[in-house]
Amino acid sequence: MEWRKGYDVAVVGAGHAGIEAALAAARAGAEVVLFTMDIDAAGKMSCNPAIGGVAKGHLVREVDALGGEMGRAIDATGIQFRKLNTRKGPAVWASRAQADRHRYSDWMRSTLSKAKGLSFRQEEITGLWVERGRLLGLHGISGMRYRANAVVITTGTFLNGRIHIGMESMPAGRAGDPPSVFLASDLKERGFPMGRLKTGTPPRLDTRTINWASLTEQQGDINPTPFSVDNECITQTQLPCHITYTNAKTHEIIMGAMDRSPLYAGVIEGVGPRYCPSIEDKVVRFSEKERHQLFLEPDSRDLTETYPNGISTSLPLDVQQALVNSIEGLEEAEILRPGYAVEYDFCDPTALFPTLESKHLDGLYMAGQINGTSGYEEAAAQGILAGINAALKVCGKSQMIVGRHEGYIGVLIDDLVTKGTKEPYRMFTSRAEHRLLLREDNADLRLTPFGIKAGVITDSRKKSFKRREEERERLRVFVNSRNITPSPLLNDHLNALGTAPITSPVKLVDLLRRPEVTACDLKQFVDNWPVTDERSEVTVEVETKYEGYIRRDRESLQKLLSLETMAIPKDLDYKKVAGLTIEVSQTLESTRPLTLGQAQRIPGVTPAAAAVLLVHLRKVGAA
């Protein structure tokens, strides 16, 4: 039976990808429906109750620049904010915050319920509704068919999910949620290339049973910068985290139980992430390390649950309990929920265009963990792009693609659709070739224009964007034109910073170029400082200090861009491109890159083959 109402865009899954996709499509003016298995679990943090971190913080700000919800949600519900890498260079400065897990998903739930043009429904989707090769909508487990012009699938770890605790295993999308089996078979039967991955989570501890007094405390930052440009500051009180370590005894317990580890006993076949290894992995692979660090992170303000960051495990519960109790401060700790590993199906992302639309089925988009990524931020970043593109598609407007030099979103998606992934893909700054251009402080400047073009930015946001742009420009002009005169006060300050005093007036910019001097140091010594937003100061300061490097990066980028953006006709017959080897033309045929730049990055496409392709495109272009 067909549901009485049809939609422009249907989103499957109310995780971090699905929420952004649905909200973005609605902002773009589409009539949207969002399906999820459990409305109460919308925006649930399956694992670590934290948002941001290196490269992930960058993604959150980019999502925010595109009008996304993640930044506002964490600003409102964070319980501890910390800027990481503060002494390592501005491109890797990164924001991270602990979330109150419950308030975070409540925030999302309430945002969804307030969004115009968005209906939210609890319904398990069992398959795509396709007739004569055309996507018409979705089938629900209720027997209902839902008509939609575009579909975004964001089912996370749910496809054929199976969780493991010791040698026990059961079907589940994550602890407490049933898996999505019908949809998995439907996709498989339709020939979508799929693989299997694995990830894990630590046991949660009862806060009241931890001996906090013996542990090192870690406080949040005094005056943190919010994730969202909509917020001026963070006002809520922050909670501390605590640090402890595993020890020889812990490692002994783990080694002694290896025969009951599903990872090592060969029960789990999915590939896990190397960078988020379970504690058993860490102990085996880094046997020379005497201890591993653990952060004890509060999971909420109101409840007594603690998240021990660093001991993800799928060992049997008795072993989990013993290993927890072997750790300093956790001698008496009790497990509230066991740690576990989850195995799930993912769809090979190389079957997607850089718009996240399927190459095989027009109007079908995929985003989030289903594409082989891991992490809330990676999911949200794909979700917002897929949602925007689904809406643009429905209105017949041209799709949005973010370049690798324009945002981490671009790097993430280009990596996925071009190279695919063999393990859960996590974002790193080292994946970005133009890291110096892709900073947290300029995410807004880089990506808001994309959002405006796509029609997902509100008027008030447009206004504030313009203001921020003007502020930065004003400050640039100011520091480049204004002199600062020596005074005993200024020179004392410079001495204190460890840099030479000045004897005659100098341009502000000359002082700002010094590594030791920040914009904040200078503003107290000049009148009429032209801006109030600290974020503008950071941008101008970094641009000043890194001027030479940024300029060179831009120059080398200009050289690349002509190739990068050279379009490849969608129907190009690679077999007819003289000079390509059979293997390469087959690889290109199956990946069907949109630009020469993308083609060059496909594994197996040699520089020589790319040159052959370039010659061909030039010839075709000239004709």
């Binding site: 960078y275 290894p277 890291r435 052959v612």
Partner: protein, 459 residues
């Protein structure tokens, strides 16, 4: 651009009398060729075991007439030079047998390979890198023993391996640096600035040494460019002919004989010299001659050395003085006084001009020519002779290494503090990219991969 997935064939051994001549076939139809043309001594079909030498007759399909008796070698893709199926037939020496075999293969519709095409395929299939491919070409064109030796070395990956070593060192440093940047929660301490930059400095020094070898390597490869300049009729073309040991240029008593530049490669006592004869320098009413003078000046600006020729049988003219003075200021040169077989005028005028008495030679009698060759060799090798066993020989190589060096040095400077670790990493990445394009490959993904092998990375 030619097709790269069809089958090609060619005689692979150089022309001339030889013990054997090899015909090579590469591509998907190599096996067809074996099946169609090769027979056992008793005329029956034969099947080739890959990588085993097999005695066979090459026959004309249809009438089974024996063309030649050969040793056949089959190499199956990808274990071959081109990574395609390759059939090699060792024919009897001389051209005739090999040509007849080639004819039979061509008759099967196999295409004749273009120059360098086997190597091109080897490169495009990733069998050899770009430096090796270039070396193959340079070996074929090598004019001197030195050039041959150097390029054999390049073909054996001597430079490629050195470049890979540099890349590895940069990569190792990047692994530390990138983990430090991407995993703040891991309590990774960056190694001391010194520990981090010491290997980089070693690499930088090696790059510098390499760059210094270029002037010698370039000479070895392309010859040392010398332009012969002077007023009309001083005997430039005569000198060129003498040095080239052949009558390349027209010589005549008419002033303004030479118009176009004339180039010859000579071997000056072991040093490869690229000589350029030019039009006599003078202002003329003749349009063609004027164009010749323009070309002469261009040749002068492209040369590494000018060979200035004066006519010793007459006095210097004022224009000659002026010319000599500007040319001498322009760069490195050797002056010679020609026609020593005639009555020489006192060469005082030239001495006054140049500060010394130039070498006297005669393009007619050959006097002074040995000495001139010695001078040329000395200048070609910058006085030192070969400075390195494996010098850089191509401008492309030099430019890539220079660009990489600049980035490495910048990276070292930035690593004095951790505050610029991101920019430092950028510099090292760029350096690696420069080296990668020297070889024709490379991806930063390798670095991401390596991070995980070496460090314990927690969540």
């Amino acid at each position: 651009m030619r097709a790269l997935d069809d089958t090609i064939c060619a005689v692979a051994t150089p022309p001339g009398e030889g013990g054997i001549a090899i015909v090579r076939v590469s591509g998907p139809r190599a096996l067809d060729v074996a099946r169609g043309l090769l027979r056992k001594a008793n005329g029956s079909e034969l099947s080739l075991e890959p990588r085993y030498a097999t005695l066979a007759n090459v026959v004309t399909p249809g009438n089974n007439r024996i063309i030649d008796e050969v040793i056949a070698l089959l190499m199956v893709a990808p274990r071959s030079y081109t990574r395609e199926d390759v059939l090699e037939l060792q024919c009897h020496g001389g051209r005739a047998a090999a040509n007849a075999v080639l004819e039979a293969i061509l008759a099967m519709g196999i295409r004749l390979a273009e120059p360098g095409e086997f190597t091109l395929r080897a490169f495009l299939r990733g069998r050899i890198d770009l430096i090796q491919a270039e070396a193959v070409a340079d070996i074929i064109h090598a004019q001197t023993a030195d050039s041959l030796k150097i390029h054999e070395g390049l073909l054996q990956k001597k430079l490629s391996e050195e470049v890979s070593d540099w890349q590895r060192t940069l990569g190792d440093t990047l692994v530390h640096l990138e983990s430090f940047l991407d995993f703040p929660e891991e309590e990774l301490e960056l190694q001391s600035a010194e520990a981090l930059t010491t290997p980089l400095k070693l690499v930088a020094n090696k790059m510098k040494e390499k760059l210094e070898s270029y002037s010698w390597g370039r000479t070895a490869r392309e010859g040392f460019r010398v332009a012969i300049l002077g007023l009309p009729n001083v005997g430039k073309s005569s000198l060129l002919n003498l040095l080239a040991e052949e009558e390349r240029a027209i010589v005549s008593p008419v002033a303004g004989t030479t118009r176009d530049t004339i180039e010859v490669k000579i071997n000056a006592l072991g040093a490869p010299i690229h000589l350029v004869d030019t039009a006599g320098l003078r202002a003329s009413a003749d349009e063609i001659e004027n164009e010749g003078v323009i070309r002469a000046r261009r040749a002068a600006s492209e040369a590494y050395l000018l060979l200035m020729v004066f006519d010793g049988s007459r006095d210097l003219t004022p224009e000659e003085r002026e010319e000599a003075r500007t040319l001498a200021e322009g760069g490195s040169f050797i002056a010679v006084i020609n026609k020593s077989d005639l009555d020489l005028r006192p060469s005082i005028a030239v001495k006054e001009l140049l500060g010394y008495v130039p070498l006297k030679i005669s393009a007619i009698s050959g006097e002074g020519v040995e000495e001139l060759l010695r001078l040329l060799r000395e200048r070609a090798w910058a006085g030192e002779g070969p400075t390195s066993e494996e010098p850089l020989t191509r401008l492309r190589h030099r430019n890539q290494v220079a660009a990489a060096l600049e980035r490495v040095e910048q990276g070292i400077a930035l690593l004095e503090t951790t505050e610029y670790a991101d920019a430092a990493a950028n510099e090292l990445q760029s350096a690696r990219r420069e080296l990668a394009s020297l070889l024709g490959w490379g991806t930063p993904e390798e670095i991401v991969d390596k991070i995980f092998e070496e460090f314990c990375i927690g969540k």
